[in-house]
């Protein structure tokens, strides 16, 4: 019996270890493939120049338009998502704490919103854009991506806030804090490292999504200087270049993918450092 338990323990440990390291291996494999395939096209020009004439036939230029466009859209959308998401998550955990049924229902709808495919957000954004008489633009892209990532911010931050013991909330309220003071001065502070994770996840989804910006942000070889101008994005740059029959252009698609990966890695590492810094004061 003891021997059987020992074997069971070893099998489970091996299987779970294989599962964990397989995922890491897949990530490494993706990065290696992208970098190997895009290595020849990776150049300083790629990140400092916009596409010149004949770029899509292998001519000179880079994807600066898509890098800037992606950053504009992802940053703008993340800002809006945080402005909506933080009060929403605090509301769920401070004001709805007495209303468990409503709390559960709100969470259910937010989960449903999270699960909606991004092409549906794209279609909705497109309809909204037409209704408001807007053209495919940076603003339309920001709004659509914000709608896509707001549920991610709310639910991720909400999960963190829901883990804060009710005793902490009670202690603060017992001192004479209002619920708003409790939410913004204590809960936000205690959940701040989790909020950074939420922002990171939302930003990563926002910068990497192609379907939601396909009809709403449009595509241009220029860097947008106004919110009503169309904006190129890295996912669409990858999509357009990867569908090209010209091998040099396809290489550039992989190079653009490598740039997107690097941006996400930089954001991820900075967020981790920031999260660690703010974790020092949280109560465990």
């Amino acid at each position: 019996m003891k021997q059987a338990k020992l074997i069971e323990e070893k099998i489970f440990k091996s299987l779970s270890g294989i599962a964990t390291y397989s995922l890491i291996a897949i990530l490494a494999f993706i990065i290696v493939v992208i970098f190997v395939k895009g290595f020849n096209a990776l150049s300083f020009d790629m990140i400092t120049k916009t596409p010149k004439g004949g770029y899509y036939y292998g001519g000179e230029g880079g994807v600066l338009n898509a890098i800037i466009g992606s950053l504009y859209i992802a940053l703008g959308a993340t800002l809006i998502a945080v402005l909506i998401g933080v009060p929403a998550a605090l509301f769920i955990n401070v004001h709805l704490v007495r209303h468990k049924k409503t709390q559960t229902t709100v969470r259910y709808f937010l989960d449903a919103l999270w699960g909606i495919p991004s092409i549906v957000y794209g279609a909705f954004g497109f309809t909204l854009m037409l209704y408001l008489g807007m053209n495919a633009s940076l603003l339309a892209g920001i709004i659509t991506v914000a709608l896509l990532i707001a549920p991610i911010v709310v639910r991720t931050f909400d999960e963190v806030l829901s883990k804060i013991p009710i005793g902490m909330q009670e202690s603060v309220l017992a001192m004479g804090s209002t619920k708003t003071e409790t939410a913004f001065k204590i809960m936000l502070k205690q959940g701040f490292p989790g909020l950074i994770t939420a922002i990171l996840l939302a930003f990563g989804r926002g910068i990497g999504d192609a379907a939601s910006v396909l009809f709403t942000a449009g595509y241009t070889d220029l860097i947008p200087v106004n919110l009503d101008e169309p904006a190129a994005t890295l996912p669409l740059a990858i999509f357009f270049q990867l569908s090209s029959p010209i091998p040099e252009v396809r290489e550039r698609a992989y190079a653009a993918a490598a740039i997107l990966t690097i941006i996400i890695l930089i954001i991820s590492l900075s967020a981790r450092a920031l999260s660690r810094r703010y974790s020092k004061t949280i109560i465990k």
């Binding site: 704490v97 007495r98 209303h99 468990k100 013991p165 009710i166 005793g167 902490m168 909330q169 009670e170 202690s171 603060v172 309220l173 017992a174 001192m175 004479g176 804090s177 209002t178 003071e181 001065k185 204590i186 502070k189 205690q190 020092k280 004061t281 949280i282 109560i283 465990k284």
Partner: protein
């Protein structure tokens, strides 16, 4: 079944009540307090006078309603929609259950010390300053003076004076509990509500908290929830024994512990000892 048996064995709470009608004025006067949860009558017609500047110990087995009674006193029961609280609780001349007074202002009259210390996610200094700032105190010198005074009052000043700006979570659990007490005292409450404040602490930290209670009790009305008999004996000026949501006996500790009138209290003491 157990409840029925308890009812049979226990004389009427009114008959068993031996609360002295002493000259000590009441800080809290509770009348006909009932707390219902769906399918559960948590507190049953509680009538209680809590004497001013004394330690009143709420004693009883787990689940008898001690914490609910304590939370009713600062209306933390408001956080639980399923709880229906009726009756009157008079504090400082105001029926807090039916008052129009802002509940946040009301709660500033009472400090709460919970089972587990909950320091705020900020520095030691800011933890104590938080309550002062809530009271509208902005003068930095006054805040610093009060922080030192309150940290001294709980015997923490010498231990933390050189690291006031470090996070409060670096303190030991006993120090955290004293910090929470200092934070509570900083807002100058009339009453201190303590819900098993030593249950998560080691014996030395527990003894420090008890010593603190003895030192400050002449200035504050302390309501202490505990199920530790020895602690009740050491600290109480007034003991309230609760069982299944009812007050079974109450009175001076000597009276209660040496000469229990009800079988339930006798049994509880026997098992507790």
């Amino acid at each position: 079944m157990e409840l029925v048996q308890a009812k049979v064995m226990t004389p009427s709470p009114l008959k068993a009540t031996r609360h002295e009608k002493a000259s000590v004025p009441s800080a809290i006067s509770i009348k006909n307090l009932d707390v219902h949860a769906p399918g559960h009558h948590i507190l049953k017609n509680i009538n209680l006078e809590i004497p001013k500047n004394k330690v009143t110990v709420l004693l009883g087995p787990s689940g008898c309603g001690k914490t609910t009674l304590l939370k009713s006193l600062n209306r933390l029961t408001d956080l639980y929609k399923e709880l229906n609280v009726t009756g009157t609780i008079n504090i400082d001349g105001d029926d807090i259950l039916n008052t129009r007074q802002n509940v946040a202002d009301l709660r500033q009259k009472m400090g709460l010390l919970s089972q587990r210390p909950y320091p705020l996610p900020m520095s030691i200094y800011k933890n104590v300053a938080y309550g002062l700032r809530l009271k509208g105190i902005k003068d930095k010198k006054l805040i610093a003076h009060n922080i030192e005074k309150n940290l001294r009052e709980v015997g923490l000043w010498d231990e933390v004076k050189d690291r006031l700006n470090t996070p409060a979570n670096n303190l030991s659990i006993g120090q955290q509990q004293r910090l929470c007490l200092a934070r509570g005292l900083a807002v100058k409450p009339l009453i201190i509500l303590a819900d098993e404040p030593t249950s998560a602490l080691d014996p030395m930290s527990s003894s420090t908290i008890e010593k603190l209670f003895r030192e400050i009790k002449s200035h504050y009305t302390i309501v202490l929830v505990t199920h530790i008999l020895r602690q009740a004996k050491r600290l109480a000026d007034n003991v309230v024994f609760m069982y299944y949501g009812e007050i079974i006996e109450q009175g001076a500790p000597d009276d209660i512990f040496k000469n229990p009138k009800t079988e339930k209290l006798r049994q509880y003491m026997l098992e507790g000892n």
